[in-house]
């Protein structure tokens, strides 16, 4: 979708501010909130670097569907679930460390591909409503996931490890610790600069992913997706299999989310089997949007800026709320409000712009027809 908008202002500074309104707003907010919260710069720096390492992969997985015109893929939670299933098997088979992580990814991949195909199929039948549908689909598959994990594992699906199962013999425990792979990726290669520890291994992987995404946009498939994203009908007349391309974008996104969730969990060190994946979609999307992305356009800088700003707000809000209004709880609700609110505003702005565009097109088309008719009768 073309991003024509209020960025037609002549002054480049004004243009910059308008098209980057959201990140700028957050920077201003943080300028006040950070000192108020009382956290030291060292602590914040460390936290942000950790979170960047932990979350970037997941947020990057959102980029490709945006390119293909599918909007914000709330369905990355499907990939997260696939990753968690991979981890459960990895734990059950007793494989540890880096080989364990790779194995979990290997197991999760076919599951993620299948779920991605399902999601793609369903989203193709709901063209124009992809975002709501992917959100509800996420809830639905979550239900199936819970059914499988709570009843299937240990009974129909062979899981033997006592550490994983509930006392009653079937069903996976709520919280599984990942000591066996905890920070395996982080520790693989990490350096310390003046008290801040930087997990280069993870960042190397993220860099590789960025290069992959960059390269992908230049492949034929990538260009096809861009074309489908711009205009489905034009792409179809150009001979592109629109449905297949759209489904592929979702499959890729889901698989990347699978890996992203595994990377996320190996850093945290515990799986909350029933909850860990819950907010994956919301947080990743909120972060991306805070970074300045829109439903139609999302780039790699959006990812990193977004994660930084989002997580800074996340960390700082409760303390700042306490200083300002006397209750830390307010800060916590505030950050939930921010996450949802930013998505609401971005979606509303985008939808508004789209409506304005459609109306302008309609008006222009009417005027063109009128002019043509007049020409015809006049000439």
């Amino acid at each position: 979708m073309k991003d024509q908008s209020l960025t037609r202002a002549k002054n480049p500074l004004v243009r910059f501010v308008i098209s980057n309104a959201v990140p700028i707003l957050f920077v201003i907010l943080l300028i006040f909130a950070v000192p108020l919260s009382g956290f030291s710069t060292d602590y914040l720096l460390n936290e942000i670097i950790t979170r960047l390492g932990r979350n970037s992969f997941l947020v990057i997985s959102l980029l490709i569907p945006v390119m293909a015109g599918m909007g914000l893929n709330f369905g990355i939670v499907l990939g997260a679930m696939a990753g968690q299933i991979g981890l459960i098997f990895m734990l059950d088979w007793g494989v540890v460390g880096i080989p364990g992580i790779v194995l979990a990814m290997l197991i999760g991949t076919p599951i993620a591909i299948l779920l991605g195909m399902l999601a793609g199929m369903i989203l193709n039948r709901a063209k124009g409503r992809e975002m709501v549908t992917s959100m509800i689909l996420g809830f639905f598959i979550n239900g199936i996931y819970q059914l499988t994990i709570l009843y299937g594992m240990g009974s129909v699906i062979p899981i033997a490890s006592d550490k994983l199962l509930l006392p009653r013999g079937y069903g996976v425990r709520n919280a599984i610790d990942l000591i066996s792979i905890r920070k395996a990726l982080d520790n693989m290669w990490s350096i310390e600069i003046s008290g801040v520890s930087i997990p280069l291994g993870v960042f190397a992987i993220i860099a590789a992913l960025c290069i992959f995404v960059f390269w992908f946009t230049r492949t034929k498939l990538g260009q096809d997706m861009r074309a489908v994203g711009q205009d489905m009908q034009v792409a179809a007349t150009a001979g592109i299999n629109v449905d297949r391309t759209r489904t592929l974008s979702i499959i890729i996104s889901t698989v990347l989310a699978c890996y992203g969730q595994i990377i996320f969990l190996q850093n945290i060190g515990t799986i909350n089997t029933y909850n860990s994946h819950d907010q994956v979609g919301t947080f990743a999307i909120a972060a991306l949007l805070i970074g300045g992305a829109s439903v139609a356009k999302a780039t790699i800088p959006n990812v990193f800026i977004g994660i930084t700003l989002f997580h800074l707000t996340f960390i700082v809000a409760p303390r700042a709320g306490k200083e300002l209004l006397g209750q830390a709880q307010i800060g916590e609700f505030f950050r939930v409000f921010v996450s949802y609110g930013i998505i609401a505003i971005s979606l509303a702005l985008y939808a508004w712009r789209r409506q304005v565009e459609k109306e302008t097109e309609r008006r222009q088309a009417k005027a063109a027809i009128k002019a043509a008719v007049e020409d015809g009768t006049g000439g």
Binding site: W93, V96, G97, P99, L103, L106
Partner: protein, 134 residues
């Protein structure tokens, strides 16, 4: 004609890819499977000869320091992969020591029990492998 050959080729590539991935999976399993390795400082009979445990032995399995295993005691180390190394240092009452280092291989489902006394005395028989109990 040309199309069928293409389809054939694509399917072959797909099958090959799956085979490679499954093989990779196996490789990862073998490389990453964590083993339970028991070390014990107890009396043992090997080939009819009895060896008695006498002194405290300091043990390192791969890069896990088990430190002192006293006479009659058993400790456990968890280590992943097929290839392992154990280094033991026996401390005599008068303060002198003797040490020995041996290598051993484990299959994915093996649990190992190493008798430290036999480790010093015999070439074979210090390592007992149990099939995995789940």
């Amino acid at each position: 004609m040309g199309q069928e050959a293409d389809r054939m080729r694509r399917n072959i590539i797909r099958v090959a890819l799956v085979v490679v991935l499954v093989a990779l999976g196996f490789g990862l399993y073998v490389l990453g499977k964590e083993h339970t390795i028991f070390v014990e400082n107890k009396d043992i009979v090997v080939d009819g000869v009895e060896y008695k445990s006498a002194n405290t032995i300091n043990v390192i399995v791969d890069d896990i320091e088990l430190e002192d295993v006293k006479k009659g005691k058993r400790k456990v180390a968890y280590s992943a992969g097929p290839w392992h190394r154990i280094k033991a240092v026996e401390v005599f009452p008068d303060g002198t020591t003797r040490e020995i280092e041996r290598k051993f291989t484990l299959s994915p489902n093996d649990t190992a029990v190493i008798n430290l006394v036999a480790l010093f005395e015999v070439e074979e028989g210090w390592l007992t492998i149990e099939q995995a109990e789940r």
